[in-house]
Each structure stands twice: as structure tokens, then as C-alpha cells.
Symmetry: C2
Subunit: 228 residues, 2 copies
């Protein structure tokens, strides 16, 4: 079993198991939504795709952001804290700047797609170990470039997998070791807009959700994510 880390989606090669990581905030938020009781999350690349799918599904809310701001007319943004409490529908139709696109790209290249975050760190690593095949951890990054929060989380997953690491997997491990505290690791981030302090603190919780979001199937070009 080997593990490789793609620090940006463009670097990702095909592999049997793909773990997509967008700690701030898409994969954290999807894990939280499924843990809260939403049955399915549909990841759409474009806003128009999301609107059309929500129309077709009926019992769903729209969630997502562009440049960290809630999309106009959507029911929720991309904060995991907006998906706490009683579910407002059976499903979430979701579209974000970097994360949902990384999920769609990984869906096209991998037999199994899991979503990783610090929130479900132990669960996702355990599920990947159970699949017992080569893993590529795909960091969503920020606008096509390296993001340290995703690399940090990738390193934490590498540490738990115990698989034979590629160069980038060794590097991610070193990055994770540089910040023993996860919150410090996420605060090392320099990119993106300010004002996400509470979400960063929320997403820095390690292993609090025993849940593994997985790609179940593609629906009208969207990735249907469940815990089945």
C-alpha cells in the first residue's frame, strides 16, 4: 500500500483510492452535514448546475460560496456551523470555489473517493486502510495553488495510514509534525479572506466525527456523497 499527496488537484494522478481534503471548508462542512443527519450531499462545480439539481430534487437546500461569501440566493454558505442542529431537508446541493471542484476531478480519476478533514481524521484513515490499496490524497488548495491547511491535514492522514510514502507524502508528514497542535497548523495559512476565525477553530477539531463521506454515484454531473 502506497500513499501519495497531490498538493494541488492538477498534480493528482489516477489511483484506486482518492481522499479529497479541503479543510477550510468544503470537506469539513460535508462531513458535518452528513453527521447532522442530511442524507446526501451533491457536489456541483457550477452555480447553475446546483440550481438545476435543487429544482429537480425538491427536498434539498442549497449551500455554497464563492471567495468565501455565500452564493446569492442560496440557503446556506459553506460554514460547517451552518449545518448543525435539525436538518432542514433530506439533501444539500453544494458548490464551493475549490473543494467541490477537487471532488469532481478526483471522482473522474479514482475508483473510490473518500472525503477527509480533521473532523473525521481517524475515520477516513481507517476506511482507507480497510480498502488496502494505493491512496492519493488530493488537496483542494486555493485557486490552484498550495494551501497549508490542506497539506497539514494530508500529513495527519499520511501518519495514520502507515503506507509507503511518496516524496510529497513524506513532505506532508513533515508539515504536520511542524505544528503538533491542529489549530496552529490551520492558523499558519496566509491566503484567502479574513474573518473565518470561528470556522477555523471549528474545523481544527480532530477526530470528533466518526463518519466517512464517500462518492456513491454521479447524478447529472454532480457527485452524490453519502456515508453508505
Amino acid at each position: 500500500m502506497r500513499v501519495h499527496v497531490a498538493f494541488t488537484p492538477a498534480e493528482a494522478a489516477s489511483s484506486t483510492v482518492g481522499i479529497v481534503v479541503d479543510v477550510l471548508r468544503a470537506t469539513s462542512t460535508i462531513a458535518q452535514a452528513l453527521a447532522t443527519g442530511y442524507e446526501r450531499v451533491y457536489c456541483c462545480g457550477e452555480i447553475d448546475d446546483a440550481l438545476a439539481l435543487k429544482e429537480r430534487l425538491g427536498d434539498a437546500i442549497l449551500g455554497g460560496e464563492r471567495n468565501a461569501v455565500r452564493i446569492d440566493g442560496f440557503d446556506a454558505g459553506a460554514s460547517p456551523r451552518e449545518f448543525l442542529g435539525e436538518p432542514r431537508a433530506k439533501a444539500v446541493v453544494f458548490s464551493t470555489t475549490n473543494g467541490t471542484r477537487a471532488i469532481l476531478e478526483t471522482a473522474a480519476r479514482s475508483d473510490h473517493v473518500l472525503l477527509g478533514s480533521l473532523l473525521n481524521l481517524d475515520a477516513v484513515a481507517s476506511a482507507a486502510r480497510d480498502l488496502d490499496d494505493d491512496v492519493t490524497i488530493v488537496c483542494a488548495g486555493f485557486q490552484g495553488t498550495f494551501a497549508i491547511d490542506d497539506a497539514y491535514c494530508a500529513g495527519r492522514i499520511v501518519q495514520l495510514l502507515g503506507a509507503e510514502p511518496s516524496d510529497s507524502a513524506k513532505a506532508a508528514d513533515a508539515i504536520a509534525r511542524a505544528w503538533p497542535d491542529a489549530h496552529d497548523g490551520l492558523l499558519a495559512r496566509t491566503y484567502g479572506p479574513p474573518g473565518l476565525e470561528e470556522d477555523i477553530a471549528f474545523c481544527a477539531q480532530v477526530g470528533v466525527l466518526d463518519i466517512v463521506p464517500r462518492l456513491r454515484r454521479m447524478v447529472d454531473g454532480a457527485a452524490e456523497i453519502t456515508t453508505d
Copy 2:
């Protein structure tokens, strides 16, 4: 002054100062060749370009590799140890799998292009500090993906610059700190063909060359590198 690291050439954005790093072996070898007394090194992307330029220049030797093997008919491969002793000509016309291409791509995007390696670590960092402008360190990588030896050297440069780091610059710093000994850092590499042990040991020498290879001008599509 800010510093950013592109772990692959594809990630590199435009910046005033570009430092290209291909520790194993292109930028190490070019530094050694100039230190030995070759006056200029011409970096060519393709073998045919190298052959044509050597024909036009006359007083030059051909050096380079594809997949770590000396190009058929060339006077030297890409080992820095082949460029020790008395210079065999005034110039070297050079073409390698990853490094010379990264140099050409950086030449198209930066006002100043310096070549960095462990051999000339202190000299290149000092020269970049003197330019006192935003720096992008461009790692050549391996076939478009992350290479830990280049990331390691990039991190050592970041540490010496003392500039405001991007996410990737902080990550490179963490990678460098993970291997206090440079030889260990280079030996962490997992990619590429075996059999480079002596070159790896040679290229792991830190700060032994007080030389800064720079892009002087483009000549017939080749990057002319000198120490002027």
C-alpha cells in the same frame, strides 16, 4: 519582501525574482561548471536546440541527460562531477529532463532569474536579499510532480531570506527543518532511477560555492547563464 515556493513549475506565478532549484542535478551542475571556469552555460529545452546552438557557438561542449542517462553523442551527462578540473571549452550547452525546462519557464515569467542549489545556498540567498523584491522559488520537480530534494533546498533558501512567507514557503521551511542534515534530506527522495549515490553526496554539500548563476539573456531560445 515576500517569498513564495512553487513546488512544481506549473504552480509558478510571475514574480520579480525567480530562483530555479533542481538540486539533482541541473542547478548544482551549472553552479559547478561556472565555478570550474566555464564562462557560460546555455540551457536548452530540446536536444535539437542544443545541437544547433553548439554548432553555431563552436567553442562549447554538449552536456545533458534524459531520464538520468547522458544524451547520445553528448560530451558529458548532467553530473556535477563531470564538470570538475580544467574546462574543456568556453561554454556548455546543456539540456536536461526537468531542470533546463524549469529555467526556461521561469525566464519567461521573471525579471531576474537566479539558479539555486545547496552548493551555492548562501550565495544565492544573499543575492536574492540584495535584489530586495518579491521572490518565487521554482522547484523543477520530477516530471511535473513534487520532488522532496528541491522542496528541501527551497526551504533552506526560505530560512536564509527572512522574507514574509506564503503558505508554500512555510511548508518548505518545515520540510527543511525535518532533515537537519542536507544529505539525509536528499536521500529522502523516492522518485527517479537508482545509481546517483555519488552525485547525491556531492550535491548535498552546503554553501561550498560562492557563485550565483543568473540569466543574462536569451540566445536562440536558450537561456544564457553566467555569473555576471
